[in-house]
Symmetry: C2
DNA sequence: GCAGTATCGATAACTGTTTATCGATAAGCG
DNA sequence: CGCTTATCGATAAACAGTTATCGATACTGC
């Protein structure tokens, strides 16, 4: 009914999940000196259906020209704007273990709207150390610093049995969005945004597919001694 | 038309993704000494709609008894069987950086159908070291060892620009399933299973929601100096 | 035993995403 | 200058997943 849909809300989650991949390819195209790109070409690079790509790009509000394609810089700008990657949110990370260190060393987060400014941990032996240039502070200081610096994003990289306590702490301190890497269901007030990355859920899909495959054709892949 | 659906295939991916969470709660229930559980109760623990839970549990082929619920041990057995978590697949990990170390130290993978038996890396300074009890081997040995040991699962934890090369190596060596942590679209033969865990796709959802929230009510969360 | 209630199973409606098809547009080429 | 072709946009159909509703069952208490 209403052809105008200027509101950037209501973009499907699957589309949002594909946007970073589009961005990555768009940057590569830009480096290659290309100024325009067609849905077809973008689809080939990402092994996606061209129609799917067009549907996704439609969400940006931009229109492409037939036979030519879309403007690469405009697409980049539009997608970054939708994702909020044209500004940077400061974030605190809790849990300076293996996973926490990996996150602190992850490249390009700053170009993806996230700047992890400090890490926190309970363990005294970790406090005071530096990981990838970020200081590890005692957990007790989290609430105070969060309020003082107005940090809005918290990252949870602690074992599952501590995650809820950390989340409570963050919410109490005024954190608005939590990126949770512990495989638990966090209970937070409705207005707090939670994005949980559960390794086990992806693993479940992998092992289930593998189990089906091995059940279907046990000859393939299973190597017996007398073969 | 066909009420019988014994085939364990065709389980929706969202359901598969929820199964590990169900399992986790079921184990806790077992420790608490409970032998039966209702969909309602399970739903409350995981903040899921009871109907959703029933739909998911339906995929196991088990039936619960009204007013009583489902048998906890039978549910555990059924879900583990579907996910292939009642057996263990040996896996090789490539990339002994931060992320690789985090994966090597991750707990409970062995109870989730995955046993990472060794890590591989190209960097000579990493080769020979031990991370969480697992030896780091030179990448050159990957193909040979994979074939000799009949390893079927490969984990990619290298930077994006090396991921495709590692995937090619794995496929060539006979790997059947790849758990990919690099944010790239891997090109592999159709029969090879690929599960990509892309941090940026989750981050996209988080930052987009946050951007919308901050745009809607800038007063909340954004702290001005003169407040 | 009989009523009340919690829980399950099945069916159906709804929502949202993907896939397919059509007509329109503009660049390239004879 | 007009024809061909690649590409886009819009509409519609198909599919999948979630949510809602209803009747049936079996435990509990009286």
């Amino acid at each position: 009914m209403s052809p105008r849909n200027d509101e950037p809300r209501g973009i499907p989650a699957p589309t949002l999940r594909r946007f970073p991949a589009y961005l990555s390819q768009l940057f590569r195209l830009q480096e290659e000196g290309r100024d325009v790109v067609s849905s077809t070409h973008l689809g080939k690079r990402l092994m996606l259906d061209p129609v799917q790509v067009r549907k996704d790009l439609e969400c940006t509000g931009l229109v492409g020209r037939p036979k030519v394609g879309h403007s690469v810089p405009k697409l980049i700008e539009a997608i970054e704007s939708i994702l909020g990657w044209n500004r940077v949110n400061e974030a605190f990370l809790v849990g300076a273990g293996n996973l926490g260190a990996a996150l602190l060393g992850y490249p390009r987060f700053k170009q993806s709207g996230l700047d992890i400014v400090a890490a926190f941990d309970e363990a005294p032996e970790k406090v005071g150390s530096e990981i990838h240039g970020k200081t590890v502070l005692p957990l007790k200081k989290l609430a105070n610093l969060t309020r003082r610096m107005g940090v809005k994003v918290g990252i949870i990289a602690v074992p599952a049995d501590h995650a809820q306590a950390v989340a409570d702490l963050m919410v109490e301190a005024g954190i608005l969005a939590i990126w949770n890497f512990a495989p638990v269901t966090l209970r937070v007030p409705e207005e707090v945004i939670v994005q949980t990355e559960d390794l086990y859920s992806g693993l479940a899909i992998l092992t289930q597919k593998l189990a089906v495959r091995l059940r279907e054709e046990p000859s393939k892949g299973v190597r017996h001694a007398h073969e």
